[in-house]
Amino acid sequence: MWLKGEEESVRRRSPHSMHELSIAHQIVEIVGQHVPDADTARVKSVTVRIGEAAGVVAESLEFCFTAIIAETELAGAALNIEEIPLMLKCSRCQTTTRGSFGVFVCPTCGGNTTIVSGTELNVIEIELEDEVPESP
């Protein structure tokens, strides 16, 4: 039987206090995996694609991104955010429509819908400045 009560604490220091901050950290980590350390300072911009229904506030993400890179090699890199509209496809009449929050039923026939796009949260592009040619 499993009756003995026990209680243990897992105390962790989390580096993120809102999820945009946590997401910004993940973006920086992904950039680091694609750009060699020596080129980090050349990163001019990072483009992310965020779905309308991804639950991420663009302004907040941008703020967090800028804040965490401030005193790093990445400082000055811009975060470009492409927002992807929420698109729904009806499982009954197959019509694809632009979704609006609060309504996930098909506006044409009232059928149930599946999400075609609008939940993305992807890093899609990193732009690097040209290397400064070494002065002769």
Binding site: E7, R11, S17, G55, G102, F104, E125, E127, L128
Partner: protein, 220 residues
């Protein structure tokens, strides 16, 4: 100017760990629910009622997520179940790696049901898969009917809606049907249950639902 084109999910690391958690849970035949709601909806009270009701029926363990304090784990441990507290220290949601660490404190071989009580927040936990089988969202009658409209991602990603504090309905300008309609508009597949942790109404149905989802497999 050079451009590196990639297509990487921002939360892929979390999703990968969640996948590992899910495999581990499946290996042990464990049914795992992730309880989400706004603060004060009665998640911990529902948990207490649930543990009381399921005593002797199922082997349950609890992972408690809170921003500060282990008060909830203390409340839950009184029911004689293993309870692990995760203190996020400011973090507004649980992530898969925190659950992965917490699970190490549990003997999964003896368990059938794991209930993860997320941090009280209807926004951030929606994005983070923990490896659970289902998200259960709790909305209490005192929060009004519009919660699903304000937090559609969470209601869309949940499998069950528990409407709590139904005993208070006579004292509120709250329309139960319109909450249900709002929720079903976001997620037509949502199963809806009604409970009161004060009177105990609906607790049996909720527990029956849990029991029905626990895999019938022999446990030593």
């Amino acid at each position: 100017m050079s451009i590196i084109t990639i297509e990487r999910k921002v939360l892929e690391k979390n999703d990968e760990i969640a996948g590992r958690n899910r495999a581990l849970f499946a290996e042990h035949g464990l049914f795992v629910v992730n309880l989400v709601s706004s603060p004060g909806s009665g998640k911990t009270s529902l948990l207490e009622r649930t543990l009381e009701h399921l005593k002797g029926m199922l082997n349950v363990a609890v992972i408690e997520g809170d921003v500060q304090t282990d008060l909830d784990a203390q409340r839950v441990a009184r029911y004689g179940v293993p309870a692990v507290q995760i203190v996020t220290r400011g973090g507004c949601h649980l992530e898969a790696n925190l659950v992965q660490d917490a699970v190490k404190n549990l003997d999964l071989r003896n368990l059938q049901l794991l209930i993860i009580e997320n941090v009280g927040n209807l926004v951030c936990p929606a994005n983070y898969d923990l490896g659970e089988n289902m998200k259960v969202v709790i909305a209490s009658t005192t929060e009004g009917e519009d919660k699903p409209l304000k937090y559609p991602v969470m209601f869309r990603n949940s499998s069950v809606l528990v409407i709590n504090k139904i005993d208070l309905i006579p004292y509120l300008t709250f329309n139960l049907e319109s909450l249900k309609q709002n929720a079903l508009g976001i997620n037509p597949q949502l199963e809806i249950l009604e409970t009161s942790c004060t009177t105990g109404a609906g607790i049996d149905k909720w527990c029956q639902w849990l029991v029905a989802h626990v895999e019938p497999h022999p446990k030593i």
